[in-house]
């Protein structure tokens, strides 16, 4: 069973952002605050990324969504630019996140 987070990224001077860049920032935040064991137990996975709206859908193990939410909140920089990654919604299905 997995949980899915809809994340929106805000930045002042970031004009382009790729899914890989966001994934790197996410994984390094999870690794920094929860360690390698955290990476495997939370199992964050970037499923979709919209480069125009700066929105991402990330999946994680059920009951580990709080850890992932905390790790997302603690992302401050992507590709050298200051960002704010805000969790918009959490759901048990990707469909409900997309249609919301």
């Amino acid at each position: 069973m997995r949980r899915y987070l809809l994340i929106r990224i805000y930045s002042d001077n970031l004009t382009a952002l790729s899914g890989e860049q966001f994934n790197d920032a996410l994984l390094s935040s999870v690794r920094k605050y929860f360690g390698e064991i955290g990476v495997s137990t939370i199992a964050p996975k970037l499923l979709r990324f919209d480069p125009h709206r700066f929105e991402a859908i990330v999946g994680c193990q059920k009951s580990r969504e709080k850890e992932l939410q905390a790790a997302v909140a603690l992302i401050r920089e992507i590709a050298g630019s200051s960002v704010a990654a805000l969790t918009v919604r959490i759901s048990g299905t990707i469909k409900s996140l997309v249609t919301s």
């Binding site: 929106r8 805000y10 930045s11 002042d12 920094k32 605050y33 969504e65 709080k66 850890e67 939410q69 905390a70 997302v72 909140a73 603690l74 401050r76 200051s82 960002v83 704010a84 805000l86 969790t87 959490i90």
Partner: protein, 223 residues
């Protein structure tokens, strides 16, 4: 805290707070700010649907100075917070009923929220999430402070401690960080909503004309 002299920064902060899902915010303002500027700030925030309350962070070195500043500013600000720079000041601030919130500088290793402060504390303990950005090693210190606060039933307020709009996080994110640090679901959600709101409600009532003292209000004025 946005740069209060910069209107665009204030508007952006208000919009970001709205996007993050806040309804009210306590903003730390400099002490010399004119009333008109505060009113204009309130309008900017109100236009974005955010209720603005003003807060002061008192930072001083000794007891006399703290008491003097509390006498001077208690009735001016909605929320009074004290930065505890040493243990003695922490004890005085925690005990004083005029202080709403105490917080510690996580980078200072010689002062922390210990049992002696927790034992006498009437104020809520504030944890600034922004301190985690700098050094992840501070997590242990924050977890220890949370543990002590829980043992002594001290209220915990979770704050973003932001200095720019991009440091704002959603209330759910702040409570998730609180849970990771050792709070339960109830304490974490209260730390971002119920406790800060109760502090503000209490202070708004205290500043009203009808308030006399705790439990005593003016019911009717006779001319």
């Amino acid at each position: 805290m946005p740069r209060v002299e910069d209107e665009q920064s204030c508007i952006k902060t208000a919009q970001m707070l709205k996007a993050a899902g806040y309804r009210a915010v306590a903003l730390t303002l400099p002490t010399g700010l004119l009333k008109d500027r505060v009113r204009s700030l309130r309008n900017h925030f109100a236009n974005s649907g955010i209720e603005l309350f003003v807060r002061i962070d008192i930072s001083c070195a000794n007891r006399q100075e703290l008491l003097r500043l509390l006498r001077r500013f208690r009735n001016v600000y909605d929320v009074v917070a004290v930065r505890c720079v040493n243990h003695t000041l922490g004890l005085v601030a925690a005990r004083d009923r005029r202080v709403d919130i105490i917080f510690f500088d996580p980078l200072k290793r010689n002062v922390w929220f210990d049992h002696s402060i927790a034992n006498v504390s009437r104020a809520a303990l504030e944890l600034n999430v922004s301190s985690l950005y700098s050094e992840s090693i501070l997590i242990t210190k924050l977890m220890k402070e949370i543990d002590i606060a829980r043992q002594h039933k001290v209220r915990i307020v979770l704050s973003s401690g932001c200095t720019s709009p991009l440091m704002i996080r959603t209330p759910e994110q702040l409570s998730a960080i609180g849970m990771v640090l050792g709070l339960n679901v109830r304490q974490a959600s209260d730390g971002v909503s119920a406790i800060p709101w109760s502090i503000i409600e209490q202070n708004v009532e205290r500043r009203s004309k009808e308030y006399v003292e705790d439990g005593v209000r003016v019911a009717k004025r006779v001319n």
